[in-house]
């Protein structure tokens, strides 16, 4: 069957499934709308958390980034999984015992302060909106490439779907659609990976193929990959180029950021008991690990396939590079999306792909008659184009499209829900209109979810130029603002509202300030974004970890100089530390 028809069929079938699930699990009360009535089975919650957490960035972006970063890409693998250890050990069981609906609500109750609650709401909204813009862009790319509709139509379809099951179903609805979405996305991710692993190494298990031997030539995949990329002037795949301290801080920022993301935390409010929250985090990470251990294998295999496609003969030989006229079909299709680009700088009609930023190799390349790297590959297309590069059947390509859409939609829905809960529950019910009835609060929750969908759609259609930067910022923000405030709220009695508020504001402003200083969000950067200029050699991506340490220091320092928190704060801490009662 033709790819277009097949993709419509597969994607259409998954959409019908999501809508069906939303219809049978409509939320009838605020408890069901915010936390699915706390009836979710821990394994189901683990699966929903995995889909909630794994976004367009994990599905379509990460393996592509790792393919070009090599060892340096490990920061995403360790950072985005190690965060679940922090979540399971330090936050989830205690927040489940606390037993209310939202993260800002916990901060407000623990620090006995409406101001702290409002500061937490601000952090939450900034974090969640930056995230959602990235999801909507992912939906747009998939729709425009695979479904051949323009981005606006694609976004419209995506928004209608999310609107339908997030606004109608609430947390209860999105939980079960996320379970279905997990199944679709993991299938769409692993099936092509198995095919490619089999083609390149003869071993169907990607995690083993990663350390296996090549069918052609017989050497180890990784050793051979190190060889071909260094021959083209790139850093060895298994070595990377980032400094040790930067890798350390980026990993730490992604871990603490993961643990502090409100849309992930709130999933652990939906299970019946404390011990379900503990085990559920294990299930969530197991389901996530199924994708996260395959991703680096896909990355190495894709980098190998791509290099071999372009560099068909010895480096420097006259016919060593692929002639543009002989380019495969997928090259054309992705070139049309603008995510792949060829610029014949030396006019020889062949594609030279090498590292022209490496002065030593650039000098050699000049001797070959090369005049600069001619291929531009957006990392976002690696996973999406992988099945086409490997020449896999059309149904696999259709599956990947459905999987990518599932990954983006499930995360978008989770984010919309925490935004609407923060507005209707924390701002409206908590601060502005405390007398509001349950029924009206539910209506307000639905209205704010609807407004958030529209805003997210707008951000997806007009993505701010700094989306990638801001997504990295979202982790830094969560790590430096919410994570320390929640952690200290559970593990200390002494930290009071002054300490918590001062700490959150310090972490937030320091991270934002550092980011603007080097990346220039809204304004021109004030200093060149290079290691020599960074504080202790920490890049803006890793600064959230440093800012989190500042947050801890400020919160503890300010608290020790101001009066201890009231007795009710102490009682709350004692209650959440003990599972019974």
């Amino acid at each position: 069957m033709e790819l277009q028809t097949l993709t419509y069929l597969v994607v259409g079938a998954t959409f019908a499934l999501y809508i069906g699930i939303a219809l049978v699990s409509k939320a009838k009360s605020t408890g069901e709308f915010y936390v699915a009535g706390k009836h979710v089975h821990p394994v189901a919650n683990g699966m929903a958390t995995a889909a909630d957490w794994m976004s367009a960035a994990s599905f379509s972006g990460m393996a592509g980034l790792i393919a070009f970063l090599g060892y340096d890409g490990s920061v995403f693998l360790m950072g985005w999984t190690g965060g679940f250890v922090l979540l399971a050990l330090l936050l989830a069981p205690y927040l489940r015992k606390y037993g209310k609906f939202t993260v800002p609500e916990f901060i407000g109750d623990r620090y006995v302060s409406q101001t702290a609650r409002v500061v937490a709401v601000v952090c939450l909204i900034v974090i969640s909106f930056t995230y959602i813009a990235g999801q909507m862009r992912g939906v747009g790319i998939v729709f425009s490439r695979f479904l051949n509709v323009d981005i606006a139509t694609g976004l419209g379809i995506g928004m209608t779907l999310v609107f339908f099951y997030a606004v109608v179903g609430g947390m209860k609805g999105i939980t079960y659609t996320q379970v279905a979405q997990y199944c679709v996305l993991i299938f769409g991710y692993t099936v092509p990976a198995v095919f490619i692993a089999l083609q390149v190494t003869g071993n169907p298990i990607p995690q083993l193929a990663f350390g296996g031997n090549l069918i052609e030539g017989g050497g180890h995949l990784l050793a051979s990959l190190d060889g071909v990329v260094t021959d083209l002037g790139f850093a060895a795949y298994t070595a990377g180029t980032k400094s040790r301290i930067d890798v350390f801080f980026i990993t730490l920022a992604l871990m603490a950021g993961t643990a502090g993301l409100p849309h992930v935390i709130v999933r652990f409010f939906t299970v019946p008991r404390v011990r379900d929250a503990r085990i559920s985090a294990g299930w969530a990470l197991l389901f996530i690990a199924l994708l996260y251990t395959v991703a680096p294998a896909v990355a190495a295999l894709a980098r190998w396939n791509l290099t071999e496609t372009i560099q068909v003969g010895p480096v420097g030989a006259a016919d060593g590079n692929l002639a543009y006229a002989d380019r495969p079909d997928w090259f054309d299709r992705w070139e049309r999306t603008g995510l792949l680009g060829f610029d014949d700088k030396n006019g020889d009609g062949r594609i030279q792909y090498y590292n022209d930023a490496n002065p030593e190799f650039a000098a050699r390349a000049e001797e070959f008659g090369w005049q600069g790297n001619e291929l531009r590959v957006d990392p976002d297309i690696i996973v999406l184009a992988n099945p086409e590069i490997a020449g896999l059947p059309n149904w696999v390509i259709a599956l990947v499209a459905a999987g990518a859409i599932a990954a983006a939609l499930s995360t978008a829905a989770g984010l919309l829900l925490v935004i609407s809960a923060a507005v209707s529950h924390d701002l409206l019910k908590g601060v502005l209109a405390r007398q509001i009835s349950d029924k009206h609060e539910l209506m307000a929750g639905r209205i704010s979810a609807a407004v958030a969908v529209l805003l997210a759609g707008y951000l997806g259609y007009n993505p701010p130029g700094f989306v990638t930067e801001v997504v990295a910022l979202a982790f830094g923000l969560a790590a430096s603002s919410l994570f320390p405030a929640i952690f200290l709220g559970i593990f200390t009695f002494r930290v009071n509202k002054y300490g918590a508020i001062a700490g959150m504001l310090t972490g937030l402003t320091f991270t934002v300030g550092y980011m603007i200083y080097f990346k220039g969000v809204f304004i021109a950067p004030m200093a060149e974004n290079i290691p020599a200029n960074w504080l202790f050699g920490i890049s803006p991506e890793g600064i959230g970890a440093f800012a989190a340490m500042l947050n801890f220091a400020v919160a503890l320092g300010v608290s020790s100089m101001t009066r201890p928190p009231p007795a009710e704060a102490r009682a709350l801490v004692e209650r959440i530390r003990i599972p019974a009662g």
């Binding site: 050990l89 990663f210 180890h220 690990a289």
Partner: protein, 84 residues
């Protein structure tokens, strides 16, 4: 805080501390700080440090959370603070 709660919390902190030490060792230790040393050891097609950074740490994290959940549930029962 009652004596019972205090001793429960003390044991709980010790469990969390041990788990976090393992968490740190497999990722920041083996995958980042000691990566060059471990990369001299080759297992199959993998250099060991690289394997920890891109595979081993993730397996260890999964095992660690299940281990923690099992021990924490047992701790609840031993101290009589479990939910049922």
């Amino acid at each position: 805080m009652s004596a019972k709660s205090r001793s429960y919390w003390h044991d709980n902190l010790r469990l969390v501390g041990v788990c976090l030490a393992i968490w740190f060792t497999v990722s920041f230790g083996f995958g980042i700080l000691l990566v060059d040393q471990l990369n001299r050891i080759q297992i199959g097609g993998f250099q060991l440090g690289f394997w920890f950074a891109q595979q081993g740490s993730i397996y260890a994290f999964v095992a660690l959370i299940f281990f923690y959940a099992w021990r924490a549930n047992r701790l609840d029962r031993e101290h009589g603070v479990d939910e049922d």
